[in-house]
Symmetry: C2
Subunit: 165 residues, 2 copies
């Protein structure tokens, strides 16, 4: 396969949250309910936020800026078994790009307020996309190794509650 050159992106803003330690940041928005955050979009792109407030949920795409390592297999946060990195949402990816579906609270000028912040404070924002009824709801038939993890275990690990017990 040909090896194309680098793909250059830029931060279009920054994500702010209460989470300052990777070890205490919840895993996925579903385990971060009640954690508020906001994305501050650079003013030059603020016009692009028009109409976003009509959606109940949005995707945030961002860069895991504190991740310095690539691992092709990892123990995912929810299970102590080595899994292929692409079968997990762990940050140690060849391109450390993160994806969260968050609940939109409001858009004020260039600031997007949301609930479900599973993202470290100061994370560079790459993109915002609407999560919609027409495009994003699929009939999940199997969720791989995640089907082996019961809901209570997922919740406790997802919320990082086991760290403080």
């Amino acid at each position: 396969m040909s090896q194309p050159g680098p793909i250059v992106c830029r931060a279009i803003g920054v994500i702010r949250s209460e989470h300052t330690s990777p070890q205490e940041t919840p895993i996925q928005p579903v385990y971060a309910r009640g954690c508020r955050g906001y994305a501050e979009v650079c003013s030059e792109f603020a016009e692009g936020l028009k109409d976003l407030d009509g959606f109940s949920h949005v995707y945030l795409i961002y860069f895991f800026h504190q991740c310095r390592e690539v691992k092709l297999t990892v123990k995912p946060f929810l299970q102590d078994v080595d899994r292929g990195i692409f079968s997990t949402r762990a940050p140690f990816r060849p391109n450390p790009i993160g994806l969260s579906v968050v609940e939109l609270i409001k858009v004020e000028d260039n600031v997007v307020h949301f609930d479900g912040a599973d993202i470290l404070d100061g994370t560079p924002l790459l993109d915002i996309k609407p999560y919609t009824e027409k495009f994003d709801l699929y009939d999940v038939k199997k969720s791989g190794w995640q089907d082996e993890v019961d809901e209570e275990t997922a919740r406790v690990r997802g919320r990082r509650e086991y760290k403080t017990k």
Copy 2:
């Protein structure tokens, strides 16, 4: 806001599909059912595909490599009204990153076969993530301007059928 430096990614592979013209490529996997495609992952990252075959759906994250222009407002494919780019999935984004939820067919060595190809042949792949029951199904309460588009219109426009009529 501080202006951090460039964020450098690399293609981890390439996406292959039957679509060679942007104007004839379906909009979103939901309007591309029956369109098969595959992602050929660079062999150096193939180990990361372990366990992926247990999932029925995956996210593909990729780079809109033929998009040369940024527009902060666009007429989305499904509606002839100018909308903020971040309230659409159009390619003309400050970072031209695409996101598709596709149905996984099989993983063979470094090749991921899928259905729902709404992606141009030759598109650089940035990441693959599992789409899971625990993480990715949200109770969509409103889908903004998309709620104004009836299903039949969305289907016809999404499949690009109006181009050939």
